[in-house]
């Protein structure tokens, strides 16, 4: 009976140590595990130099511009604090929309804009019928009408 409990304690202890090791390793690798960085990170110089990386944020309202050829696109990615202008040539995913999440892969161009080679749409965890979405939207518009843009919650929370 005693050796059984000893074994059980041993297994529990080993698992706890394993968990701590995993937590430390993951913590150390934190920046490598993140799929993308925010425009604020880029502004702070955290973007890798001369290498491709991904930026993520919201497509700024009213920033989307399409060239006449239909596949050359320019838009602004924002995390509400900082903005980055992005240009891209290619097909956009269906869920790509102004005000919605986006993840773009590419490099910083010489003029300080982001030249994207791939654009992915990031949707949120809300699932509802269109009528409910409209009701929520209307309610939010009514509530935020007289609030300055800076008080809008950061994108991390609104995803």
């Amino acid at each position: 009976m005693k050796s059984r409990h000893k074994k059980l304690a041993l297994i529990g202890g080993a698992l706890a140590i394993l968990g701590i090791i995993a937590a430390l390793v993951l913590n150390a690798l934190n920046s490598n595990i993140a799929l993308y960085i925010s425009p604020t990170d880029v502004a702070e110089g955290k973007a890798p130099q001369g290498k491709a990386f991904r930026i993520g944020g919201l497509v700024k309202e009213g920033s989307l511009q399409r060239q006449a050829d239909g596949v050359t696109i320019a838009f602004v990615v924002t995390d509400t604090a900082k903005d980055i202008a992005v240009h891209y040539k290619g097909i956009l995913p269906d869920l790509f929309k102004e005000g919605k999440g986006v993840v773009a892969q590419g490099k910083m161009a010489a003029d300080g804009t982001f030249s994207a080679s791939e654009v992915l749409a990031k949707h949120d965890e809300n699932y509802m019928p269109p009528e409910a979405a409209k009701a929520v939207d209307d309610a939010q518009k009514a509530a935020t009408k007289h609030v300055s843009p800076s008080s809008v919650s950061p994108p991390k929370a609104s995803y």
Binding site: R4, K7, L8, I11, A14, L15, L18, G19, A22, L26, N30, I33, A34, L35, Y36, I37, S38, G56, I91, L92, P93, D94, L95, F96, K97, K100, V103, E118, V119, L120, A121, K122, H123, D124, E125, N126, Y127, M128, P129, P130, A132, A133, K134, Y159
Partner: protein
């Protein structure tokens, strides 16, 4: 005291085998009932989604499969811990019986996720934390099956496999919380114990499908564990009696 006695009684394959046989039809029936109800709600009643249209309906397979893939792993790791600590015969058999179903669920999760990701995100696959850790889970299942199959001595196979299961268990919270801890393309969770960000009929469809997957997993795991019991205990009296009774029954 009586409960304790009963529990130990069913830990013996000789008594668990007929019990499992009696339970299987019930779990199959429940799985069918929940599945039909879930599919009806999910495919016919639940409304179209405001951003993803009809495409979101893959959620009724994707989320239950993902939940099951993580839960089955936790159950297997629990059996492994019991097996390593108490040296019970049943625990190795249970872990072995659950593994293929767990692998199937992990594969379904990844596959339906890829089919979903292409139209919605614009990519079949990205190496974000959620997708990568779920892929590791699939490899853990396959690794467990390969490892236990490669060792001839059954007791040593169970021990080695159990150790692998226990080490891999750190991956499960990583999968679950990955969307919280890191920037991922995969969205955050829509449902947890306290809140849901889904319309009610969608949520019910998903929960019914989850129950269907639960019942299915229990049913096939019990079927598999019965076969494993007969195979591993073929030299014992109760298996001989069981098989003897069956063949004489068939002869009549």
């Amino acid at each position: 005291m009586k409960d304790r006695f009963n529990l130990y009684r069913f830990a013996s394959p000789a008594t668990f085998y007929p019990l499992a046989g009696k339970l299987i039809p019930w779990f199959v029936a429940l799985s069918v009932v929940f599945g039909l109800a879930g599919l009806y709600l999910g495919m016919l009643v639940a409304p179209t989604d405001f951003q993803q249209g009809e495409g979101y309906r893959i959620i009724f397979i994707h989320v239950p499969a993902s939940w099951m893939s993580m839960f089955i792993y936790l159950v297997m790791a629990g059996w492994a811990a019991i097996g390593l600590a108490f040296n019970t015969r049943l625990s190795g058999m249970m872990a072995q019986a659950l593994a293929p179903t767990g692998a199937l669920m992990a594969f379904l999760s990844l596959w339906t996720g890829a089919l979903w990701g292409k139209p919605m995100w614009g990519a079949w696959w990205v190496w974000d934390a959620r997708l990568t850790s779920e892929l590791i889970l699939l490899f853990l299942y396959i690794g467990y099956m390969a490892l236990t199959a490669a060792i001839d001595d059954q007791r040593r196979a169970d021990k080695a496999g159990g150790l692998l299961l226990l080490v891999g268990v750190v991956n499960v919270p990583i999968i679950y919380f990955s969307v919280k801890w890191w920037n991922t393309l995969h969205q955050g969770s829509s449902v947890n114990l306290t809140k849901s960000s889904m319309a009610e009929t969608m949520l019910w469809g998903m929960l019914l499908m989850a129950l269907c997957f639960w019942m299915y997993s229990i049913a096939v795991a019990l079927m598999r564990v019965r076969t494993i019991m007969l195979e591993r205990e073929r030299h014992t009296d109760w298996v001989r009696a069981e098989l003897g009774a069956n063949s004489s029954g068939a002869a009549k």
